[in-house]
Every structure is written in C-alpha cells, then in structure tokens.
C-alpha cells in the first residue's frame, strides 16, 4: 500500500505542481493517474521512488516514510517504465534487462539468464537479446522497458506514460499485454497517462487530476463513468458530449442485424441476433 499524506510540491521557480494531495493506493491493483499535462501526475509518480522529494507531506510505502530511505536503494526495489523506453543505448537488450539485478549484486551470468526468461514473459523473441536498443522498433523497446522494470521482481511498478510514443495499434496491444501480465504478476501498479481511454482500460482505480495537482475525482472506472463528480470530469471523460452514449439503429431487416452507434453518429459495432444478451464487450470498438 502506498499512501500520499498531504503532499505538496513547490518547484524552486515558485510553481506549485501539487497542492495538499492525499490518497491511498491499494496493493496489487492498478491505479491510474490521468490528467492533462501540467497536472502534476508525473511529479507525484516520481515522489514514490524519490526522484522528486515533496516540499510538504509524506509518501509512505507499507507504513515506512520513503524520506527515511536511501533513494538509490529504494529505486532498486521499485520498477520504473518510462516513455520512449529510456533504454541504455550502449547496452545490449539482455544487459538492459539485467541492469537492476546487476546493480543489486546478482552475478552477471545469472542476471542474464533471468533476463532471457523475462524476454519470454513480455513476449519478445530471445534472438533480440544481443541487439542494441536502436535496432528495435518502438513497441519492442517498450516491452524491453517493462521487462527491465520487472527484473528485480519489485512489488511496485511505476509507469510514466509508457505507451505514449507508440502508434495506436501497438498501444492497444501493449495495454492488453499489461493487463495479462498484471493478472499473473499481481504488482502494485501506478500508471500515469493523459489518455482517458487508456486509463479506463487498465485501471482498478482512476485518479483524475485538474491542473495544479488537484484531484477532481477518484473511483473505479465504472463509478467515474456512471457518476462524474462535476462538469470538469464529465468533459474530460467525454460524457458531456455524449461520446460514450451509445444507441441502437436497425440496420438490415433481412439478417436482423442492429448497429450500435455513438453520439457523433459513428458506428461502434454490430449486435448479432443469435446472441440473446447484448454485452457491452461486443460493442466496444477494437
């Protein structure tokens, strides 16, 4: 469990990035911080592994204030995935994945052996192990980034817009993969994004931010979607424009197909007649 207790952050230039932020992040669940840029979400994420120290308040992991920990040791037991992979360009893929275990003193051979297994876990071919990062595609680099974050088997995984720089198709694939991984691995995941669809797809708990690190709403995706706290949230998740409201239109009388259409008139899917129960899953665009 990660707790933020009345955390504030004022940068030396005077900007208040986060103002009196408190939240409990439950263990073994995915919490997504979502908000536009400048909402302080990345700053908050980086307080967990002390890449940023708060100017007021505490960040507490399982009862221990992180301010009392050695930042270097703390970071070695928290996984971190960043945008653009952040891989070390001068290390081969296998050594990139083995980075943290080697820093923690695991013999290199053993760490590499484990790194190869992790490549399997994130769905990469072992033949990529001896390549350098720039020889891989953006999506592959991002998978390596995830493997590297998992290498020391951390309880906590911090993900800072990890899929922001890859194309939409690869992004969907990576999101699915992350959900699958999370089912097996049971980590406490804190995920930062500005993409509300990504947030709803991945989150057990969503935290929606306004500018300046102020929380607009906290809840499960269905709570937020079903009952947006205010105008801001409604507009942010697109509910006010009816973007998420679907209706049915009869399509083809002969086959009995019914089309599901969203508010802007775009077809979102088809309901087929032989399914007695129309599940929302069938209507979700993919």
């Amino acid at each position: 469990m990660i707790e933020f207790r009345s955390v504030s952050k004022r940068f030396p230039d005077g900007t208040l990035a986060v103002d009196d932020f408190s939240i409990v992040i439950p263990s073994r669940q995915t919490t997504v911080f979502v908000g536009s840029s400048g909402s302080g979400k990345t700053t908050l994420l980086r307080m967990i592994n002390r890449m940023v120290d708060p100017t007021a308040g505490q960040v507490v992991i399982d009862g221990d204030d992180v301010a009392k920990e050695n930042p270097v040791q703390l970071r070695r037991r928290i996984g971190y995935v960043m945008q653009n992979g952040g891989l070390l360009p001068h290390r081969r893929i296998v050594d990139n994945v083995a980075t943290v275990p080697v820093l923690r003193g695991v013999p290199r051979g053993e760490a590499r052996e484990h790194a190869l297994e992790l490549l399997d876990t994130v769905g990469l071919d072992r033949s990529l192990a001896t390549k350098y990062p720039r020889q891989l595609s953006g999506g592959q680099q991002q998978r390596v980034g995830v493997a590297r974050a998992l290498a020391a088997d951390p309880n906590i995984l911090l993900m800072d817009e990890p899929f922001g720089a890859v194309d939409p198709i690869v992004r969907l694939e990576l999101q699915r993969e992350l959900k699958r991984l999370q089912k097996d691995l049971d980590k406490t995941v804190v995920f930062v994004t500005h993409d509300i669809d990504e947030a709803f797809a991945l989150a057990d708990q969503v935290v929606i931010f306004r500018t300046g690190g102020i929380v607009a709403q906290v809840g499960t995706p269905s709570e937020v979607l079903g009952n947006p706290a205010d105008e801001f949230v409604a507009s942010f998740i697109g509910a006010d424009r009816g973007q998420r409201q679907l209706h049915l239109e009869p399509r083809n009388p002969e086959t009995g197909q019914v089309m599901v259409v969203d508010a802007s008139g775009r077809p979102a899917g088809l309901l087929s007649d032989d399914e007695s129960r129309a599940s929302t899953g069938a209507a979700s665009p993919s």
């Binding site: 703390l74 970071r75 960043m82 891989l87 360009p89 290390r91 820093l103 923690r104 590297r148």
Partner: protein, 232 residues
C-alpha cells in the same frame, strides 16, 4: 633519396622522440579535460566560466609560453618538460569544449532512466554518461591528436629534438628533401595516431557503429562509391 638514406637513423630517432613528446600531452589533455567538461555540462554558468577560461589558454602564443614556463614551474630552460606542459595546456584548451559538448549530448531521458533504475551518482557517471559521451569525446581527441603532433615541431626553437628540426635545418641548408622528410614523417605519425584512435573507438564503443542488419543496403552503396572514387 640520398639524404634520407644517409640520415635514416637520425630521422628514426627524431620520429620516436616526436611520438613520445606528442603522446603525453594528448593523454594529459584527455584526463584533465574530461572532469572539467563534465563540470561544464552541469549548467550554463559553469559552462561559461570553464569554457571561456580554458579557451583563453589557447590564445597564448606558443613561443612565449615555452619561454615563460621554466620561470613559472621551475624547470630547466632546455628541458622537454616545458614543451610537454605547454602542449598539455593547449590540448586541454581544445578538449574541454569537446568534452562539455560530449557530456551535454547524453540524452536527458537516458539520464533520468538510469536515475530511476537506482544508479548512484558515481555509477551513473562511469557506466552511463562517460561511455555515452564516448563518440563526441573521440572526435575531440582526433583533433587534439593532430594539433599536438603539429605543435611539437615548434619545440625545436627551445631546443627540443623532434621532426621540427628537419624543417628548420632543411630550410637553413636549402635541403628540400630534408624538409619533405620532416613533413611526411609528421603526417605519418598523425595518420597512425588517428588510426589508433578510430580503432579504439571501434573496440570500446561497438554500440555506436552503423547498424549492419538494417542499414546494410546503405553501407553497400557507400562502399561502392568509395571504391569508384579510389579507382578514379
């Protein structure tokens, strides 16, 4: 070629001496410039102060520097140490700017990532920043190497024995062959040093080489052009 054959031993001795006098300043320049360059890359103020002051060093004319140095560092007037120290100063002057650029060229993303992984400051320098600065550092070293080898010749004026002797002696005696020998020999040294530096780069920075699998088509075109160029 008569002159060369009858003076071959002297040419070899002068060449070896020239090499010795060049190597020390080149290495000293690197060792001193790397920490200064890293410091200069920390911020604009640091960069301004360090780059400006080391660049000023380069504006000191070489001959007066050779003459003043014994008074400053207490060496004998005719000692090679004067030459070596002076050349090291010039090497630092060139290399600090290159080193500052080299460390600034390391991507912020990569530095952030290594911080997040749990590298200590020291490990971050040795295992991430220093190797990633390698290609630009190497480019700087190639300039320093050539410039130092050329400057060593001036040392003849303060009694150092190196290939520069062949220029001055040859000019005084009107022996074109002697002058040409001096020029060719220093060129050869410069070429060999450059080759060694490039080879070191290949060995130490394998990741910075052109990607063979993806860009094999490109490099083939390049090598074809080179071959044609050579034939023509």
């Amino acid at each position: 070629m008569n002159w060369l054959f009858s003076n071959f031993d002297m040419v070899v001795e002068l060449t070896l001496n020239h090499v010795r006098l060049s190597i020390i300043p080149i290495i000293a320049g690197f060792v001193i410039a790397v920490p200064l360059g890293r410091l200069a890359a920390t911020g604009r103020a640091a960069r301004g102060v360090i780059i400006t002051s080391t660049s000023l060093l380069y504006t000191i004319p070489s001959l007066p520097l050779f003459v003043i140095l014994p008074a400053i560092i207490g060496t004998k007037v005719l000692s090679d140490t004067n030459l070596i120290v002076a050349l090291s100063i010039y090497a630092v002057a060139i290399m600090v700017r290159a080193a500052a650029d080299a460390f600034s060229s390391v991507s912020v993303d990569v530095k952030q990532a290594s911080l997040a992984m749990g590298y200590s400051k020291w490990q971050q320098f040795w295992r991430v920043e220093f190797p990633l600065a390698g290609p630009v550092l190497l480019a700087g070293m190639r300039v320093v190497s050539v410039s130092t080898i050329a400057l060593v010749s001036v040392g003849v004026l303060i009694g150092s024995e190196n290939l520069g002797y062949l220029f001055f002696n040859g000019k005084q005696r009107g022996l074109l062959e002697e002058v040409v020998t001096g020029i060719v020999a220093s060129l050869l040294i410069a070429l060999v040093f450059d080759l060694v530096l490039v080879l070191l780069g290949r060995i130490l920075l394998p990741w910075s080489r052109k990607d063979r699998t993806r860009r094999s088509a490109d490099s083939e075109t390049v090598s074809l052009t080179v071959t044609t160029g050579g034939a023509a």
